[in-house]
Amino acid sequence: MDAIAGLMTGFAGAMTPENLYYAFIGSLLGTLVGVLPGVGSAAGMAILIPVTFNLPAEGAIIMLSALFYGSYYGGTITTVLLGIPGESASAVTLLDGYQMAKQGRGGAALSVAAIGSFIGGTFAACGLVVAAPVMVQYALKFGPTEFFSLMIVATALLMTFAGTSMLKSLIMGLFGFSLATVGMDPAIGIPRFTFGRIELMDGISFVPVVMGLFGLSEIFENLENPARKVFQTSMKSLIPSMQDTKDCIGPVARGTVLGFLLGLIPGTTQALASFLSYTTEVKVSKSPERFGHGAIEGVAGPETANNSHANAALIPLFTLGIPGSPSIAILLGAFMMNGLAPGPLLFATSPKLAWTVVASFFIGNLMLLILNLPAIPLWVMILKIPYSILNGLILTFMLIGAYSLSNSAFDVGTLIAFGVLGYIFRKAEFPLAPTALTLILGPLLEKKMRLALELSGGDLSVFYATPISGTLLALAALIVLWPVYQVLANTYRRRTALVK
């Protein structure tokens, strides 16, 4: 087979000392950039760009891609241990990961995340080798119409989250959707609910909201109760238990596939992949009530999905030259700066470079696993710092992270405001997760709907009359109606039993 032979020559190219070195530097910087809030993969890559001007093409691309997928390994660490999501992709991990850290299982959460990330990333790299061009052609058929219907499925999954109070969850979900309407509307481009603030034109930034709702409000709660022990740390729980491992097989497998498929579709984000993985896990779980209180599936699934997505998102770049996100656009830039045009001809015109880079993905992911696993005990040691000091440092990181998202004090204000709001919701026992999740979905839902309608010339039938979109909508209907049917069926059964 061509691909296998190509990959072999690729490994030969990627195993040279200098290419191993570039992969290592990229992985290391990626982890660092991921750990530090406020420095995303795009920013990290932008710092490296001047350096790559003077590097050989292979080295530059290997280093930049390792930094890109490596940042998702690192992002988990701050999210789980400190409750600060550095990027929107790791926001979902916060829901259960941070709870695990508080229960002294932070080490297990990080291990599972690293292993899941490795599996997801490696699988996606395999996908790139085996069947990428064919799959991407299919993925391109997944246009805005299908995207919209997928969002409806996600919303349906969310609606069936029972929680302690269905009504409260729904209200909080709608609250998130409402927040998502702030900003320029996608239909005719007028500002909505912006109160004349230009900072709100692009909508409310997601990361400071999540950081505030979850991280900051948690700190507020801890502050008012001086006697409470915040983190239990025990070194024993560094390694996932047998039960943990068993629990994680399903989520990791599903997360891998989900992240991979979404990664193929240009325009989807890692945040969306981890979101869908999380909701899927809640849906298929036999005990959904554990989610939000430190369920390891809630860490394994999303973390696997976002890494699988990150690696799979390189497939449209390699096969079509389409950048799905700013970080990938930088990679595209690195190709172009070296006179290469990623696309269908890349593997034909410069096979050595292409295969070397692909082989480096396997090596890079392995390096990241080796870099990350032994370091976990060290990271967990952070929690041994006396809480009042740790508290100060967490606040510092949050303030830096919120500010550097768009270099504006406005986001710092958003962080504080949502911290207070989150505190109030916690006191009133309103669940916070639905708000965060709908805030991811809201803007996408409306934008894609508008785009789909512009493409169809205002014909609403595209949503139900086209095969993929129609199937997805049917699935959404099924998800919503199934519990209703179950309730009805149960009552009927009981009645007939009574009659008998």
Binding site: L36, V39, A46, L174, N391
Partner: protein, 158 residues
């Protein structure tokens, strides 16, 4: 808990009413589908209905007592208020004093006040968290952080 539930419920109700009123003045439908007012209107309307249902349930249902520790102790409340004050103060002065000085003051206050750390410890951590963090984020990683716009601080490079 009754009062709390009512208060939060009413707040949500106000929000939905505000959004419904706000969305009425926006275009509801365009020739290509929903306009800017479509989604806010329906979201807010549904939110209003659900909140009303919730409020009814709170009124009809049994009155639950406030959970233990709902109100923080005096010390706890003071610590909370102190940190919140410090956060707001930081947000307001960061662009004037620059990140390093604002963060230094913020950390000194948070660590020494609510954190009850000793003076040397507070100073050490505060310097690390302000000047140290600035070095890491700005000088090493190229992240921009707020700088002072007061003349003499600016000339010092802060």
């Amino acid at each position: 808990m009754f009062i709390v539930n009512i208060a939060v419920g009413l707040a949500f109700l106000c929000l939905s009413i505000y959004m419904v009123i706000g969305s009425i003045s926006m275009k509801y439908y365009t020739d290509l589908g929903p306009g800017p007012g479509f989604f806010p209107f329906w979201l807010a309307a549904i939110m209003g209905v659900l909140t009303t249902l919730w409020l009814v349930r709170v009124f009809v249902g049994p009155r639950q007592p406030l959970p233990e520790g709902f109100f923080p102790s005096r010390i706890g409340a003071l610590r909370l208020a102190g940190v919140l004050f410090a956060l707001i103060a930081y947000a307001l002065v960061a662009d004037i004093l620059g990140f390093r000085i604002a963060m230094l003051l913020f950390l000194l206050f948070v660590l020494y006040g609510p954190g009850r750390q000793s003076v040397p410890m507070s100073i050490a951590i505060a310097v690390l968290g302000s000047f140290g963090a600035y070095h890491l984020f700005h000088d090493v990683l190229g992240t921009h952080l707020p700088l002072s716009n007061i003349g003499f601080l600016e000339n010092l490079g802060l």
